[in-house]
């Protein structure tokens, strides 16, 4: 069972990148999704901050380069992804 936060993160990635939510998984990254360019990245960071109510550091905003990395960064803010 995916956690609620997991669903929310997949939804946010899908909304901002304009890709189907079902296609988001461990392999989803800036390298595998053509729409995920540097400008979409900024929109994505802003949307993730909004959806999870967190404020990322500059470093962290660079680090969110894939779905697993986004989970890792959000976990540092206490967002729980355990099933």
């Amino acid at each position: 069972m995916p956690s609620g936060n997991d669903t929310k993160l997949k939804q946010t990635l899908a909304q901002v990148l304009g890709v189907p939510e079902s296609g988001i998984g461990d392999e989803t990254s800036m390298d595998t999704v053509p729409q995920w360019d540097s400008l979409k990245h900024l929109n994505l960071v802003l949307a993730i901050e909004e959806q999870f109510g967190v404020s990322l550091t500059e470093e962290q905003s660079f680090e969110i380069l894939s779905y697993p990395l986004a989970k890792a960064v959000l976990a540092e803010h206490g967002i729980d992804f355990a099933a």
Partner: protein, 614 residues
Amino acid sequence: MNADILADFLSGSHETSTYARYAAVANVLESSTPEQTGLPVLKVALLRNFTAEPLVPVLAGEIFRAGYHPRFYVGDFDAIQADVLDPNSRLYAFQPDFIILAQWLEALSPALTTAFISTSPPDRAAEEERIRLHVRTIVGALNANVRAPILLNNFPLPTQPTLGILDSQSTGYQTHTILRLNAAILADSAETSDVSIVDFMRVFAAHGTANFVDERYWHVARAPLSQKALVPIGTEYVKFIRALRGQAKKCLVLDCDNTLWGGVVGEDGLAGIQLGPTYPGSCFVALQREILNLHDRGVILALCSKNNEADVLEVLRDHPDSVLKEEHFAARQINWDDKVTNLRRIAEELNIGLDSLVFVDDNPFEATFVREQLPDVAVIALPPKAFASYRSLLTAPGYFDTLSYTAEDRRKNAMYGENRRRKALESTALSLDAYLSSLDLEVDIGNPSEVDVPRVAQLTQKTNQFNLSTVRNTEGDIRAFMAADAFDVFALKVRDRVADLGLVGVAIVAYDGPTATIESFLMSCRAIGRGAEDAFLAVVVRHAAEVRGSEVIVGTYAATNKNELVRDFYLRHGFVRIDESRDDRWSLTTTGGHGPNVPAWIRVTNGVDTHAIR
């Protein structure tokens, strides 16, 4: 196309939409065609000296909400001059309908921002002048190459000037330097057609500059606007697009009990309702005062209340603290019928569309009922008991925002009162002809003068029902038509025994060889039904035939969901269909003095036109 995402978005408002949802909507719109959404395209060029891309999803969503399929051209980062100065640039190839010129002062001028104190006073003055010229140059180049409204932001004030509290003690320091620069840019833009100032100073102040600027993404990506700023700023830009596309609402329809005053007048009585100098009555006085301001700005007021009419009128007539009086309301439906029926009656009585109405009610049932039954009506649902918030809930959405404020606006409400008197006259007259004759109608038809231009442009932007082609024009467009030999712009002014209605009609005619094409023909609804439109067409046709020598007059009709009223306007005036199967193009041969006539009860006076017209 994912229609669910779009439909879901439209069911909410800009307050309920998250940034993630805007992003989703923007993606759907970007990957779908206008044929799929069934909406006209609206092209926006975004020229910027900072990373403004995060604004695009909000702009896309709000433009979609305004009824258009957005398309964007985002100029290269900090490459505004290259785009605007080159007539062959991608910007001009894009042919934008609107241009957003977004500039961030820190990127434009370190001398006036981060290095203010290190810059000498003479250099600061020179820098002020340089920025002013820079903006003027860009605007001048845009005006020379493309006819599209320019939305130009001013600069928010610094929150942490180096001099701290001292900074506000001299007009030579940073805060006042930026105020002066903003004022200079405003002065220049006020003299230029088609430039509107998007007031970042006000929007930032309203939400707090500290909340609106994100230093992290300024440093990381030259993107100064915070996540919290994106929706308010994107929405602010689209207010201008709505206003310039004639979407301003015209009429405010108000509930009475617990909206205009606290309590229920039918139960609590005149002395028992809450309306006066102390809480909670003061909240209702404040709301009424704001409603009166809207009235004085030209918004039509109407009442829609389940009540005994006599009880409501007693408050308006006799309550000492009621700012609003009976004469401020152009229409009222105070009865026990449902509000949907009453709103329809009000729209009909005032001759305006349901989509021109804003309905205010504190009762969640009524608000929801109207929202569901009449989706065209904008609804402001006042939260029960939160009286102090009512005033700002009324003004915050900007439903009545326009970009002009004319003498006609100030007089409009008086005119609706006069229309009621005229209707009273109508009911006593023996026949319509006798009534019309009794009005002593006079129309004045001629080329508009410079002072008429804002009103002429406003009419093209606001008129929906009596509008044959529904082409929206800016003041710049109108001046260009007036200056061109191949065009005539006609303004119709109407007065009668009861009142002077002022400038109520516009026609724009293009001449090409023996053909005159009526590109625009429109009239304000409040002048309908007296034959002024017939006189107007007769004079325009006669002018084309006798002064311009046109042999064929072509009339165009572009059907919208508002202008059914004039579908057969040309037919009724002797025009014939150019293509038998269609209603969109009509023609009339003028040889032999053929053409529509001025109704017998109308006197055409003409002080404006240089050409003689009988």
